[in-house]
């Protein structure tokens, strides 16, 4: 048998034994797991453990030292690993920087490949939508309804509709992400208002396609990578110099794949773009001074602060403090997660509800009348849960909050 043949033969047996070889870009994650010293610090900080206890969700340590070790465990632990909200708190407190959120994605990918029957069925439904529309949310049946919904939202917020004249030779691609494209359209429009106010030469995609994060979180690595490639091609054909997004999940996921797949352009969240490219002075000069006094508290989106950088939260505070008549109050929530991450809310709503519960209590305990968060998913999740719990506190996406506080032109 030649070496080539032997290689093919072994590859064949791998398939039979249901083993998926690791990809080159996964090796670093695999090595990080070997560093686990089993100390259990992560258990003390995991928001899912705080919400439901180690009996239902055995916690990050268990994922690192038990559930991730070999194929039979992969398959039999679907009920545990699909409960991780992927917030990244465990990685942040870990003395050895074990990359647990990514390990969870890798285990899910292996369950998905070999035992799709063990993947919660609600997630298969999301995948159907993604496959049909290249987006995590199904488009509106009637495009007119979508426009009506957008106009209603704009009217309520008192924001103008911004037309993009030309996207030829745009410097910046504004990428709203699925949620702001289909559901929270006010976030997309608010971002356009802000970019236009600062004379940014920007474009948006004619046909937005998903960044691939939901597919990756479900475990459908193949679809995720296809979406990554498709998005890369769209962006490359525009020839933009950078990408700006208002979505926390897109920020971390695109930052990740842009490095992995050599996109060669920087990725920014709107907050970073405003601070690093527009500058706090210019921003401050455009703020309305006649608004009424508001007390707000900030919710920290996991994908922005724990998966991208904590620095962005300091930027957010800097921006909010530059808005006249706004007082920022700190919430006592530690290691907070809105429960909307990791696709958990789709198949285990009771778990997601327990996770967000800790947050709601902390928000309620502040004297703030409004929660502001730089993520459309956190906004929607918090809004829904606060409403259901009868807590009369409004939630705004930070981009919308900034846009509505700009002075009239």
């Amino acid at each position: 048998m030649s070496e080539e043949e032997a290689y093919e033969f072994v590859k064949g047996t791998l398939k039979e034994e249901r083993i998926i070889p690791y990809k080159e870009d996964e090796l670093e994650i695999i090595k990080s797991i070997e560093q686990c010293i089993n100390c259990g610090i992560c258990i003390n900080h995991c928001p899912v453990v705080a919400g439901v206890g180690v009996d239902q969700f055995s916690g990050p340590r268990s994922i690192a030292v038990e559930l991730s070790r070999s194929p039979p465990e992969f398959w039999t632990t679907g009920d545990k690993v699909y409960l991780c909200t992927g917030c990244g708190t465990c990685r942040e407190v870990c003395p050895q920087s074990v990359n647990i959120p990514e390990i969870v994605n890798m285990i899910r990918a292996r369950i998905f490949e070999h035992r799709p029957d063990l993947v919660p069925k609600e997630l298969h439904k999301v995948l159907e939508t993604i496959h049909a529309h290249e987006k995590a949310f199904a488009p509106w049946d009637d495009p007119e309804d979508k426009i009506d919904s957008r106009d209603m939202r704009l009217e309520r917020l008192g924001l103008p509709l911004v037309d993009i004249e030309s996207k030829e030779s745009a410097d910046v691609l504004f990428y709203p992400g699925c949620q702001a494209e289909e559901m929270a359209q006010e976030v997309k429009e608010a971002a356009k208002v802000i970019l236009k106010r600062f004379d940014v030469n920007f474009a948006v995609l004619d046909e937005l396609s998903c960044c691939g994060l939901p597919a990756r979180l479900i475990g459908d690595e193949k679809t995720a990578r296809e979406l990554n490639t498709s998005l890369k091609e769209k962006i490359k054909s525009l020839g933009v110099k950078m990408l700006v997004t208002t979505c926390a999940g897109c920020t971390s996921n695109i930052s990740d794949i842009a490095v992995r797949d050599n996109w060669d352009i920087p990725i920014y969240h709107m907050i970073e773009y405003l601070i690093e490219h527009i500058g706090i002075d210019r921003l401050q000069a455009e703020m309305a001074s006649d608004t009424s006094a508001t007390k707000i508290t900030i919710h920290e989106p996991c994908h922005l602060i724990k998966h991208t950088s904590r620095q962005i939260l300091d930027y957010a505070v800097e921006i909010l403090q530059a808005i006249p008549n706004v007082e920022v109050i700190t919430s006592s929530a530690r290691d907070s997660c809105c429960g909307g991450g990791g696709m958990v809310a789709y198949h285990a709503p009771s778990v997601a509800k327990s996770v967000v519960g800790i947050n709601l209590a902390a928000i309620d305990a502040t004297s703030a009348s409004r929660v502001v968060t730089p993520c459309p998913l956190c906004t929607a999740t918090l809004e829904d849960n606060l409403y259901r719990s009868g807590i009369p506190i409004d939630v705004d996406d930070l981009t919308v909050f900034i846009a509505t506080h700009l002075s009239m032109e």
Partner: protein, 455 residues
């Protein structure tokens, strides 16, 4: 974007947080960069100062031990504290004074926070652990105060209480071990017994983690059923003291213990191993202390590079999962810990400090740059001298600035504090948090002097 500060502290354990607080409360613009949680988070609830000296063979009070250190070892961080400004000689009184100052300072700063502690430097304390063994220490969190269990009490009767389905503490086992020890004690506890109570954070009496119980008690207090179970057992055994697992709440442990005390006993928590609730209390309290002083903290960032010019570190580069941050600071404090924190790395080719690639030495300041870590371990696992590998770290000058093998200061604006330092074996000495506290306190002051050009 470039971020400018007077002081950058690398590491968020006790040494870094104390140093940062000292600088920040005196008005310096301070940033603390933290990668993950280190050894401080593992705290058992005790702040050791100096439990025993390797050379002494018998237990000493922390003050006596500190006084002895100066005589027998010149490289111990405590001894460096005692070097006088005037004649550059070691003064025992100076060591004791500086330790006293920093302990007093921390006690004041943690006052009212959940890690508030109690104890005295001139008394050795034998705190009980979850295994029923004892450990020499100096200060413990207030909830762990054993009261008059072993002193001035003729007929103390100790009841170990565990929680059904909580695997981190077995009261019966602890009681048996502790009772065994009483045979050798000067003032033995008259009677030792155990019992279980039921606390079910999520409605089930099994597979319960410590932090769950603590959060549950914070949230809803001690369940009535648990209190009556406890009352019955106290009546049956005639207990005077009650030893509990250290999970009686993160913020509200004092209140819960107060409730138990009303049953006519002295309740206290025992020391535990990680993942510990007392460690969470300590870390949380130290974080709060630092933030209260006005310091800035950037969590989730690892220092991955630096620029230097003219024997000074001019800039450090910190990395988060997807971003990099450039930080320029007039002075930098290195408080990165040892092997758990990641400040010192041991590989097959030898030991290195992980950020500035500084030279490393052992207990007696002998070079360890090309020494395999195995050479500094002993085949006998448990022994009085411990493993030499735990005393490896960076050598420093009298201001705690890292020096190289030629005894030259490497960077005039970099100071080192905590377990990244060489010259002491915290495991056998029981001096971990004490050295972290005192060297953090002193380097904070030294960095301040440097920034104000008074050093």
């Amino acid at each position: 974007m470039e971020h400018e500060y007077d002081l950058a502290v690398i590491g968020g354990g006790i040494a870094g947080l104390v140093a940062g607080t000292i600088a920040s409360e005196s008005g310096l613009k301070t940033i603390l960069i933290r990668k993950g949680r280190g050894a401080t988070s593992y705290s058992s609830g005790a702040i050791d100062i100096l439990g025993n000296l390797v050379e002494s063979q018998f237990p000493l009070s922390p003050i006596d031990a500190l006084s002895t250190t100066g005589v027998i070892r010149s490289t111990h961080p405590y001894v460096i504290l005692g070097i006088s400004e005037n004649n550059r000689e070691v003064h025992t009184e100076l060591i004791v004074q500086r330790v006293k100052d920093s302990v007093k300072w921390l006690q004041r700063n943690l006052d009212g926070l959940c890690a508030e502690f109690t104890g005295a430097l001139d008394q050795a304390m034998e705190a009980i652990t979850v295994l029923g063994t004892t450990k020499p220490t100096c200060f413990v969190q207030k909830t762990m105060d054993m009261g008059n269990l072993v002193k001035d009490h003729d007929d103390s009767n100790l009841l170990f209480v565990d929680i059904v389905g909580h695997p981190d503490f077995n009261g019966r086992l602890a009681a048996r071990t502790y009772a065994e020890f009483q045979r050798y004690a000067d003032k033995p506890v008259k009677r030792v017994s155990s019992c279980s109570i039921t606390i079910t954070p999520f409605g089930k009496p099994y597979n319960i983690s410590s932090v769950e119980v603590a959060r549950h008690l914070d949230h809803s207090g001690l369940p009535k059923e648990a209190l009556s179970e406890l009352r019955k057992n106290i009546e049956n055994t005639g207990a005077t003291h009650v030893a509990l697992p250290p999970v009686m709440g993160i913020e509200s442990a004092n209140t819960v213990l107060q409730e138990i005390a009303e049953l006519g006993v002295h309740p206290f928590e025992v020391l535990s191993f990680p993942p510990s609730v007392p460690g969470m209390r300590l870390q949380q309290s130290l974080d709060a202390m630092y933030l209260e002083s006005g310091g800035q903290m950037i969590v989730g960032h690892e220092v991955v590079g630096y620029d230097s010019a003219d024997d000074r570190v001019s800039r450090i580069i910190a990395k988060s999962p997807h971003r990099k941050m450039k930080i320029s600071a007039t002075s930098t404090i290195l408080a990165t810990g040892k092997f758990i924190g990641g400040g010192i790395k041991g590989t097959e080719s030898g030991f290195k400090e992980s950020i500035f690639n500084l030279d490393t030495v052992d207990l007696n300041y002998n070079p360890t740059d090309d020494l395999r870590p195995q050479k500094l371990t002993d085949r006998v696992n448990v022994q009085y001298e411990g493993h030499a590998v735990f005393s490896v770290g960076v050598p420093v000058d009298r201001y705690f600035r890292p020096i190289n093998y030629d005894s030259q200061v490497v960077y005039e604006n970099v100071f080192a504090a905590g377990s990244v330092l060489a010259g002491y074996n915290y495991l056998v000495e029981k001096s971990g948090l004490g050295v972290g506290l005192t060297t953090g306190y002193t380097t904070g002051l030294n960095a301040m002097k440097y920034i104000k050009e008074e050093l």
